[in-house]
């Protein structure tokens, strides 16, 4: 009897775990997608018609077995790089990625020079 109970509990938990997994994945993806109706909000935060449809579509794509990056590529192809909150490094965004690094190096160089000058 006890074994049966444990077996039933495990049986109940397994589908929930995979559901929770998909839910987590969906939340992670929708947090990185921008809502085009209420711009400035992520699809995850927004409750507009467009965002709700996006959430359904993300679920569908996850069920179809698409990975996170494949889903981003899908939306990027439809709406452009702007749909992503975390854009990848490419010819349009390299300034965005490299500028902080350059400023950091420049600042470091100035500090080094000053320190050497003092010494």
């Amino acid at each position: 009897m006890k074994n049966l109970k444990i077996f039933l509990i495990i049986l109940l938990i397994i589908p929930n775990l995979s559901f929770a997994d998909n839910q987590l994945e969906r939340n992670k993806i929708t947090k990185n997608l921008r809502c085009l109706i209420c711009q400035g909000q992520s699809v995850y935060d927004s409750d507009s018609d467009f965002a709700n449809s996006m959430k359904i579509l993300v679920d569908k794509k996850l069920e179809e077995g698409l990975s996170e990056n494949e889903i981003y590529d899908f939306f990027k192809e439809k709406y452009g790089e702007w749909i992503l909150y975390d854009p990848g490094l490419n010819k349009n965004t390299y300034i965005l990625w490299l500028l902080p690094l350059l400023i950091f190096l420049l600042g470091g160089a100035i500090i080094m020079k000053k320190l050497r000058f003092k010494n």
Partner: protein
């Protein structure tokens, strides 16, 4: 010389920053996706508006003529505005109008068509809004001109006199 250099660099930097922000104020910061042209149309299946029959996109866009896919809903006010233009365009036999009814109530949509006329050859349903996203649309109304299974032109917002003339000149 060195004493003057630093203040002048600071002043110039402030002027540049001011100009960038000032220009930013005048520019709209609402992003509109680029009109994707010459893209293949998405493949999807849906349900027909009047018969609840399943329909596949390949059955709709099956010939090499021009198709105009219009995303509409009875609750959308700009759709009412553009409807007269769509009725006019439906008289042109070089283009076939296809309707995609977006997140609508069946009775309201039927009343809308009875009152204003039905310009569409086929209407199919997008109940959860996902088909519109497959098309790269993000609201209603949106219209796509299709030729040889490719999107030739995309119009965000209601159609007007000028756009109807443009469509007529493309399909000529």
């Amino acid at each position: 010389m060195k004493d003057k250099l630093i203040p002048s660099i600071i002043i110039i930097s402030f002027i540049i920053i001011f100009l960038i922000f000032y220009k930013g104020l005048q520019e709209t910061n609402i992003y509109i996706p680029k009109s994707e042209i010459k893209k293949d149309i998405p493949i999807f299946s849906s349900v027909k508006f009047d018969s609840n029959e399943n329909i596949n996109s390949s059955e709709i866009f099956n010939s090499n003529k021009f198709y105009l896919l219009n995303i509409w809903a009875s609750w959308c006010v700009p759709c009412r505005q553009e409807h007269t233009y769509l009725m006019r365009l439906s008289e042109n036999n070089k283009v076939t109008l296809i309707g995609l009814n977006y997140k609508d109530n069946f009775n309201n949509a039927q009343n809308f068509l009875m009152k204003l006329g039905n310009p569409y050859e086929v209407i199919f349903l997008d109940e959860d809004g996902t088909i519109s996203i497959e098309w790269g649309a993000y609201g209603v109304p949106e219209t796509f001109l299709i030729h040889k299974n490719k999107i030739v032109a995309k119009y965000i917002g209601p159609l007007n006199e000028k756009l109807i003339n443009e469509i007529n000149s493309i399909v000529k």
